[in-house]
Amino acid sequence: MHDGKRARGMKGTARNLLIHLAVIAAAFVCVYPLLRMFSVSLRPGDKLFSADLSLIPAGASFRAYSDLLRDTMFLRWLWNSLVITTATSFMGVSLASTAAYAFSRFRFPGRRSGMLLLLASQMIPAGMLILPLFLMIMKMGLMNTYLGMIIAYSVSSLPFSIWILKGYYDTIPRSLEEAALVDGTSRVGAFWRVVLPLSTPALSIAFLFNFTAAWNEYLVARVVLFSAKQYTWTLGLFELQGQYITQWGMFAAGSMLVTLPVLAVFLYSSKWLISGLTLGGIKG
């Protein structure tokens, strides 16, 4: 490969060099805030606001991390987020999996309008429904509870999940279900024993999508949860960064702890996620 480049001569090399420089510059802009957050999280308490730009600051320590875990309810916030997010994702995916199957395999009156409704619901700004949801949750007496959050989140990713799953089911040959019927399953049995096991990739995409949407949510949590014990991590970090500027180091440490696993999962699954997103985007 390198020899082929060289054959093109000086012009090609210079061009390649320029491309590399441009891409590196862009990559630097993209990653720098993360690096700086890392550097801030290592800063010793008395130098939090120094104009130091080095990646590993002088006197680096993990103090901010231990302070975060000991002095704040960071772990509790993570746990809250985890519980709420897992519950909503499971509910969303299981509701979507059967609904998508109906849209993929059956022709019935209302099918078209049902799918249009799903598309239309994507047009409604999510922020617009926070107010009525908030009032409903208040009326039900579920303020500041997991249940309120789960109820608010549970259907928000449903239309998108249904689209993704329907697109995937459409690629599974019908003859597989017919073979299962002939082999002795019921229609529901064919779905359960053949279609669902074959759809694990799409189900995981839908799950991941539901999970990230709820995991990163802030606006609903802001109005439904009000005691620090019930906070999700997004609220907790916002508080750390917003109220007391002195907690800048703990904020950075918490951000690092939340970001790294999310980043890892995202990069690991990005191929699926991106194809799912663009698929959904194109069909929508």
Binding site: L181, V182, T185
Partner: protein, 366 residues
């Protein structure tokens, strides 16, 4: 095993009729092949028997018991699909045992049946493989094996060989034929390939446009096609069909179409059918067109023609001859060394000559 009967089956998709009153009886232990061009309704008929398609009207019985309305699982049939439909997430063994496991057979029984089927189909080494690791022919065999383990009342085959390449198709044809003799089962087999129909079937049903055109043993259908469609569809290369007109003078009947005249022998047409001026279609199979042959018993007078093109196939040769305005195909089993453009004489064999009514397409000759 059991017999199958379709009675006055109709089927419409939306407003389009697909089957227009089909009745067909398949006897116990019979290998019935339904053959027809694509879109003729043959697959729909098969899927109705399987229970994958509902009937619009009519009755289906298996072994005397009515099954239309029953779900597929309660019809005791097994089916081999065109694309095999092997479950991608199960091994060969799991694919084959799936139906037995659903029916809660004892594990020992399942194991012995799978082993038996694997033995018949030489799948022994492949049992632990996944379908995606198999070749086309192997998948085909697994699909058949999956049907065998069920010991169903009826086997259904939906164009099972159409996804294989030519060589493999011939092999599998022989395999299926052997399998039939071994299982002695009732089989309903759907195909668009008349060669498969001729070679496999104990009886053939030829379908076109949602109607069964003829049912009979392969040689019967080949020798006495009931109408023009069957005549043209069964047999390869296809029968020559020459439109023309009868003229009756005295005791003799003559077929003519402007460019050629042909005296038809006594007895080819029943007396009452031979009306003067009747529009008919004359059918002669290519292998019954003799080229440059001396006059002989059962051969017509010589027709003058011109060789247009020739196809050398190795074991035989196809000659396209133009006689007046009529183009005829003659199949020769010997090498015919004549350049295109040269004049040739043709004689038609009266023993295998068919006359059809042009208007209705029905057979007129005895």
């Amino acid at each position: 095993m059991a017999s199958v009967s379709f009675k006055d089956i109709t089927k419409s998709f939306k407003d389009t009729p697909v089957l227009k009153g089909v009745s067909l009886d398949i006897e116990d232990h019979e290998f019935m092949v339904i053959v027809g061009p694509s879109g003729c309704g043959k697959t729909t008929l098969l899927r109705m028997l399987a229970g994958l398609e509902e009937v619009s009207s009519g009755e289906i019985t298996i072994g005397g018991a009515r099954v239309d309305g029953l779900p597929p699982s309660r019809r005791e049939i097994a089916m081999v699909f065109q694309d095999y439909a092997l479950y991608p997430h199960m091994t060969v063994e799991e694919n084959m045992s799936f139906s037995l496991r659903l029916r809660k057979f004892p594990p020992a029984e399942i194991a012995s049946r799978v082993a038996e089927a694997a033995g018949i189909l030489q799948l022994g080494d492949l049992l632990k493989r996944m379908p995606r690791q198999l070749s086309g022919g192997q998948r085909q065999r697994v699909a058949i094996g999956r049907a065998i383990v069920r010991k169903p009342k009826v086997f259904l085959f939906d164009e099972p060989l159409s996804n294989l390449d030519a060589k493999l198709r011939e092999e599998m044809r022989v395999e299926i034929s052997k399998l039939y003799r071994r299982l002695n089962a009732t089989i309903l087999y759907v195909t668009h390939d008349q060669v498969e129909a001729m070679t496999l079937a104990t009886r053939i049903a030829v379908m076109d446009r949602g109607v069964i055109q003829q049912v009979g043993a392969p040689m019967e259908v080949y020798r006495r096609p009931r109408n023009m469609f069957v005549a043209g569809f069964i047999g390869s290369p296809a029968m020559n069909l020459l439109p023309g007109r009868l003229s009756v003078s005295g005791g003799g009947v003559v077929f003519g179409n402007g460019s050629m005249e042909l005296a038809l022998p006594r007895g080819l047409l029943p007396e009452q059918e031979a009306r003067d001026g009747r529009e008919v279609v004359l059918g002669v199979r290519p292998e019954n067109v003799a080229v440059e042959s001396p006059a002989g018993d059962g051969l017509s007078d010589e027709l003058k023609g011109e060789l247009e093109a020739r196809e050398l196939l190795g074991h035989r040769e196809n000659l396209y001859v133009k006689a007046g305005g009529t183009r005829l195909l003659a199949a020769m089993d010997r090498f015919f060394d004549r350049a295109p453009g040269s004049a040739v004489g043709l004689r038609l064999n009266y023993r295998d000559m068919h006359v059809f009514d042009k208007a209705g397409g029905l057979r007129l000759s005895a």
